[in-house]
Symmetry: D2
Subunit: 344 residues, 4 copies
């Protein structure tokens, strides 16, 4: 039995584990003041091409999202998100728990468009009773999106433009950012993102780390007292070395992109295999999540051998399924899966 | 330079690191459903003598505190705490951020007493305008306390009795619980605590783990939908194996108490050394935090060799200092420090 | 210039003002303990046919909504509402400010249906990752709805049935309840509502009072410590007599329904006038809000004489407009408006 | 039986009631846009000598306090208050409900001092771990205080100075401000307050209005989107004319101070009467709350004739009692009470 269920079934990339071991008995400073965290932040700033960026390490994506969003918004402000956005669906109302409305908009291939933001925002601005509405103040996008699609450089630039035009923050959830950066379908670099967004986070958990995400804050007003905001939200780690060490390793010798590229290569093999079999997909994905639509009997026959995510069941006897690859995916198992599908 | 600043300067106990390494490429279930977490929970239930306990793993103490307190209280309810309590001082208002008042009471040797709770609570109950007051609903205690002192079995029993009498929850913050259990000054066992409290957590971060705390929920109404509450507060880890594996190791072969006993042994050596030198202490501590009061020139002479915490400066030219030991403390450095003090 | 903009342009019904004047210098108890409030509550319980009901007076609808919803829900729970629901649109995120997600569903003629709730709720219940979702716990309906439509006795009974089936609270926002009860289009009585809902409020502000709404709590768990919850939300009035006196007057001699019937009569005159002119409507309304669709030039010609609400502008050169009547609407002005439309 | 229990036992000053009656059937704009509110705001700005002030009307003091404090503070910031401060005691945790810690300091005669704020704030600023603390950002004072005492011009100026020095907001709760302004013991004018504070509110409920308080915002950053913040907190009244009309009346012909002076005159009579009898007081008060300490048998003998507040019971057989006068207090009853005490 092999699992393609998600990209966090295994532990950490071996280089990371090795770093944790070799430094284990060193005494370091704590609560974010350790030298590993400082060095990791420096490496990330360099990779982003933004010496002015503030880098903070979080323990998970939900925590990063609600802490950053809560830090950015005043009590009556809300955040635009695609209706599929992680903050709108799978965070148990964490954003609302901090007091803010998620202003859900319909998604096209998992994405928001600049035109859609402008249209929604004009509705707000032109409403004579807008003082009784939640004030939109931020746009949340996921890259890759929840269905594995990618924003192009042009699409994100247009979103950034509309945000600047209306005084909205642009925040990018990069839980799987490594797979976007390594994807053949992307023309958007880390430096682009760091130019276009007000804040974003670089996912570690799904991209080779044992635990952790690196938030990059660019707009000055988001930086004020951010460490205290993190503390209040349970996001300050006593042994902050744990996070610093991992991101130091990931941003040394380009490890982050390198190991994610393996995940992408595996996903592209699957994509090809599904196409060769003539299977439709939910959305064209060039990232590590593939969503083929399988005949129900094919799904049933694979089930004893492969764990995978059931995405949606259709009335015509087919089922959309999510296959996830990662830095840790076995080449051998991918080959076997493709053969099993081919021979079905 | 050697640090006695705190008990989280090093990484994890080697046995834990080894477990993380040896299981690293196994595929496991996620979000708390992995077998390691299940097994760790079982071991903890057994150690507590409470098969009915629900065990959940958190990433840090602040997160455990605000999630459990927020889960237990309705919007208008508050929690009694000593004014020194961690939730009242060093959590950046995390409890208030979830909407609840910390009802601070004065501490005696860092502790709350049953009589004090009863007196305060009767003031509330007898106030004709009590409907305009925050309703007290929980008592928060730290064991060991923030100044290293310990509740006796009798003291905690009395607190539990007064809590039951008035319908208050008793919640124990065990960030350093291992050092309490291993202390020669304690007659309170883990099983006692699990009988007397409605909820508590077993500290990992300061007691040998790389990261993590194990919350033990005993009272049924605290258990409802707790996983969702954790998720909403950013406390659900995708790779939950990381926490499960560590607590599995800590509760196998009594590792938890065993390694904390080393910390205690080291602290008792220091205690003896301070006493031999005739130094007063802030409070008599039988745990891994020692608070001697040093003449300022002694403090200055130690400063280049030892990191330690400056606790309070007195007008008579002395200074209370915190020395922390842990599972990782070097016997050699303890010996050296005692000699340096002796020969001062 | 005469205003049909809303149903709160004038002060209070004269009987109410007179009661305030005649009792003005009496000394009464405060914070809800005055005898007028007690008597008003008694009258309302009788009108509802529910001796077990708890009645509390609020200062406004938004305040009633967020206080009741916040009292009913635990932190991770949400409330289903039509996307047009007042709590989803015009309360500046008050529900989210108390920490709860509004789970917006599409509206049919302004209403939610039992089938729709069941379908949505089954999606939640059947989701294997539902522990990561907001847990739906309440259904919010407005009666009349925001577009002036009404739930039939059968429709509300079906909603109540589905709520009981799934353990959801049913909460009814009766900001304009008087107009529903007085409407020829309604077969739903106050007693029905008090049988079917877990909580609701009887609107005063829009139905003849100077200020205030009367909340009726039926389900026992919603009643616990409710006065303290109100206090915490700024809803406890020192001079509570102000609210008690008004609702005492409104529920004496059936004043509430009587004066609202005038508003309905006026609205039905308008409705007939619009129909006679052949004007389409946004939704068939038998309440005090009428939404005819006017040719733009008719709208422009009325504008200097009548204030009214512009609801929506259509691309075909027409515009939906809201005309509101009330207990205070001038018969003469209604006649004049109908003539002006007829002769256009 | 006559009540000296509080200053809100009666309705409104007759002039106010008359204004409500005479304007009752006028149609006005709503949600704060009515001409009465605009005029009232203008009159208040003039009385304050601050043309730049923003004036907003609230329904009660608790609502004004939590809305203004929540508008001013970021999530991790707190507010200094005397431990007797209304926000720290009698608002059921409303401030904490909006997420903020009340940083309680001991009171001297009900007041905070500039020296005390500076000392507390330096403790915070000098703490090396201050990033883990709640950040103090506001000072809350009541004038008159909860025990009837008054800040002098010099005391409030010193507080304002220390606030500016450390970037803290100074906020004054004027629930009984009219009695302070009319007091012979005060050298602090409304114009002084409007120069020294960043925000304050002028109490109506206890000073002759039927309902309502007028908040005055001076510092620009407190004004941003304040109407929306009010809406989110349930503080925007549909029939805002109700509040506008009252404050228009109160700030016409100096009615506010004039009617409060009657309350003060009555209180000074009581004060003299108590002194003549040789009764000690809790604190020297020149406002409408008097706190004499009565022998228990005197208290018992007065109880059937006068309602009053029992403040504190002492072990020596005496009891502190609160007598409240107001604009509505009967001269005759005051005379009778004094005679009854004298002849005891």
């Amino acid at each position: 039995m092999y699992s393609f269920s998600n990209d966090y079934s295994e532990g950490a990339h071996p280089i990371i584990l090795e770093r944790l071991s070799s430094t284990n008995m060193d005494q370091t400073d704590v609560y974010g003041d350790d030298s590993y965290s400082a060095h990791a932040a420096e490496l990330i700033r360099a990779a982003c091409g933004r010496e002015d960026a503030e880098v903070h390490f979080f323990l998970g994506g939900t925590q990063a999202n609600f802490t950053i969003i809560c830090a950015a918004l005043r009590s009556y402000q809300g955040v635009y998100s695609s209706s599929l956005g992680h903050i709108n669906t799978h965070e148990a109302g964490a954003i609302e728990h901090t007091g803010h409305k998620v202003l859900a908009l319909s998604a096209t291939a998992g994405k928001l468009t600049a035109a859609q933001i402008e249209e929604s925002h004009l509705l707000y601005l032109n409403d004579p009773k807008r003082e009784h509405w939640v004030q939109p103040k931020m746009v949340y996008v996921s890259h890759p999106t929840e269905v594995g699609t990618l924003y192009s450089r042009r699409e994100l630039t247009e979103l950034a433009d509309v945000c600047r035009k209306y005084g909205l923050y642009l925040y990018l959830d990069g839980a799987r950012l490594g797979y976007a950066l390594a994807s053949p379908g992307s023309d958007l670099t880390l430096k682009d993102i760091a130019q276009l967004c007000d804040a974003f986070y670089i996912g570690g958990t799904k991209c080779g780390a044992l635990i952790g995400e690196a938030a990059v804050l660019l707009t000055p007003e988001l930086k004020t007292d951010f460490h205290t905001i993190m503390k209040q939200n349970g996001a300050v780690l006593a042994k902050s070395r744990l996070l610093g060490l991992q991101f130091e390793a990931l941003f040394t010798d380009n490890l982050y992109e390198k190991i994610c590229r393996h995940g992408i290569d595996m996903a592209m093999c699957l994509k090809e295999g599904f196409a060769a079999k003539g299977l439709a997909v939910v959305a064209e994905s060039f990232t590590n999540q593939q969503f083929p639509i399988l005949p129900e009997n094919m799904y049933r026959s694979l089930l004893p051998m492969y764990a995978m995510g059931s995405w949606e069941v259709y009335s015509n006897g087919t089922r959309a399924v999510r296959f996830c690859t990662s830095w840790a995916t076995s080449e051998e198992q991918v080959g076997k899966l493709i053969r099993d599908i081919k021979s079905f």
